[in-house]
Amino acid sequence: MTGVEPAVAVRNGTVALGGRPILRGIDATVLPGEFVALMGANGSGKSTLVRAMVGLRPLVSGEVRLHGTPLASYDDWQRVGFVPQRATAAAGVPASVWEVVAAGRLTRRRLLRPLSRADRAAIDDALEVVGLADRRRDAVSTLSGGQQQRVLIARALAGEPDLFFLDEPTAGVDLPNQQVLADTLSQLKQRGATIVLVAHELGPLARLVDRALVMRDGRIVYDGAPLRDHEVHQPWLGEPHTHHHHHSSGPTDHVPGVVAPVDAPADRIGGEGR
């Protein structure tokens, strides 16, 4: 691990809202090219952590570094793409899909300059990746929830960043739309992007995840190989020495159903527990 500058590094991070500590003693690093899932129940602080990582929540103590630079002096924002948690991409005035996605290009545009050819190409490419090129002229408010989520992802893509933060992009999105999202993120991963994803259920995204961080009550309680959705909420977090049958060293495989009936807990294989 030495020699590689982490894309995101949080050291002893503490976040308080109105004097009440929400996150305590967070230590987390994300290496370049990694796909990290930030998991946990509602209210466990996973959204707060990702918002602290992009500077939307100030730290009470500790430090966040992006690409090795402390957040306070970080100004390389065109490398960062943020997809906030939103029920809708619409505001008080109608906006077309193209316009919302074009806003993501502002990280690379200078003041009072018209869009360059490269800007337009990046916006078109972002629309193409999320499969909404044919809806570019439509008002965002006429799109379905899953499509609006894809608009927000295209907006982050338009700035051509290499570090993505996605806050619950799958919440309230149907399976076909989650599949499109998974394909989009897999393309990004192949391009070498670093991805931090907040989710309480991974669904079709599970196969992309390199590492999972599980949060509980404002602390990170697990940092390691990806967990399956139900394991996140078990007290033992699917850790090898208490639960799994393979050893902690070496690659862990999560082939479903490879369990011996003798020592399998009853809740793992329904009616077969004896």
Binding site: A95, A103, L106, R137, G159
Partner: protein
């Protein structure tokens, strides 16, 4: 006096220039306020500016400049309270509303001003503009329009999604204050046209009208500026012609004309949205079993009178709760 003679008089030409520029500037900044769901902010600033005008009248300085200063201070204060308080932006607005109006009337009473002096600013008086008034109006209005159009991409991003804009590296607080200051300036620009109490109408009503029929932000802001210009110049002309017969105030005429545009656009907006919903293609995919329609004497086709909706690679004709698609010699229920 004939209308041609009337419109060739200098005071009338000054009024026309001021009306045109106000009609363009107020909806330009108004669009960003509506986008941020702060439609009433213009009204709040207008009330605060009453204090500024009264202060100007009391101290004998130009009411326009004192109004600009007080309105900018009030707008920035609203913005700060909104940002800090996080929850109750509308309460902050309400406090300034009443404080501004009460302060203005209190101060003008203190100075022993006649009601007429303050009324000119409360309800507008386009036809009493001096040359210097018009020059101030032109400078301020052109500055507002220039900044709104030039910084439109940034202002759009900030108004659409503050958090995203912050992570994109935009200085969101500066842009928020800029919007507040531009709103305050256009309030004072518009106060001689429609008056402080009606100023918000010129910022909001053209935007509300435009968005009945538009799908994009750019179309909305352009249409709103055009509608604002039409309403304020049209209102001035209408009020001038009407003044041959009766006493007609310009400001209220402009606002009523803008509202009339809205009344026309509203049903058109409802109709087009309804039509778009009906014609939206049906989701792709077929029912598992094939269900043929029994007797069907009517032949569907382009212009047959029934609603035609795209479905996959063909067209479904909609009537009486059925979706009929041609299949060989008969129709299928889809």
């Amino acid at each position: 006096m004939t209308p041609v003679e009337l419109f060739s008089l200098p005071f009338m030409q000054r009024a026309l220039i001021a009306a045109l520029l106000t009609g363009l500037a107020a909806p330009a900044i108004g669009t960003f306020l509506v986008q941020r769901r702060l439609a009433l902010m213009g009204d709040g600033i207008g009330h605060v500016a009453v204090t500024g005008v009264a202060l100007g009248l009391l101290t004998g300085t130009s009411p326009v400049w004192t109004a600009v200063v007080i309105a900018v201070l009030g707008a920035v204060l609203i913005e700060v309270i909104r940002e800090r308080g996080q929850t109750n932006g509308d309460v902050a607005l309400a406090l300034l509303f009443y404080g501004g109006l009460a302060g203005g009337i209190f101060l003008s009473g203190l100075g022993g001003e006649s009601a007429a002096a303050l009324n000119r600013y409360l309800f507008g008086s386009l036809t009493t503009l001096s040359v210097s008034d018009v020059i101030i109006t032109m400078v301020l209005a052109i500055a507002v329009i220039g900044l709104c159009v030039g910084l439109a991409p940034q202002l759009f991003a900030v108004a659409q999604d503050q958090e995203f804009a912050r992570v994109a590296g935009l200085r969101v607080r500066y842009y928020n204050v800029l919007v507040a200051v531009l709103a305050a300036v256009s309030v004072t620009v518009a106060m001689r046209t429609v008056g402080l109490l009606l100023v918000s109408a010129l910022m909001v009503v053209p935007v509300a009208t435009a968005q009945q029929v538009t799908r994009s932000f750019r179309a909305t802001i352009v249409a709103a500026m055009a509608l604002g210009a039409v309403a304020s110049v049209g209102g001035l002309v209408a009020a001038t012609f009407a003044s041959y017969k009766a006493t007609v105030a310009t400001g209220p005429t402009i606002v009523l004309l803008a509202l009339a545009c809205y009344v026309v656009a509203w049903p058109i907006g409802i109709w087009t949205r309804h039509r778009a919903r009906l014609r939206e293609p049906f989701p792709a995919g077929e029912l598992p079993e094939h269900e043929a329609c029994s007797e069907h004497p009517h032949a569907h086709g382009p212009g047959c009178g029934h609603l035609a909706v795209p479905h996959d690679d063909h067209v479904d004709y909609v009537h009486d709760g059925h979706r009929h698609a041609a299949h060989g010699a008969h129709y299928d229920e889809h």
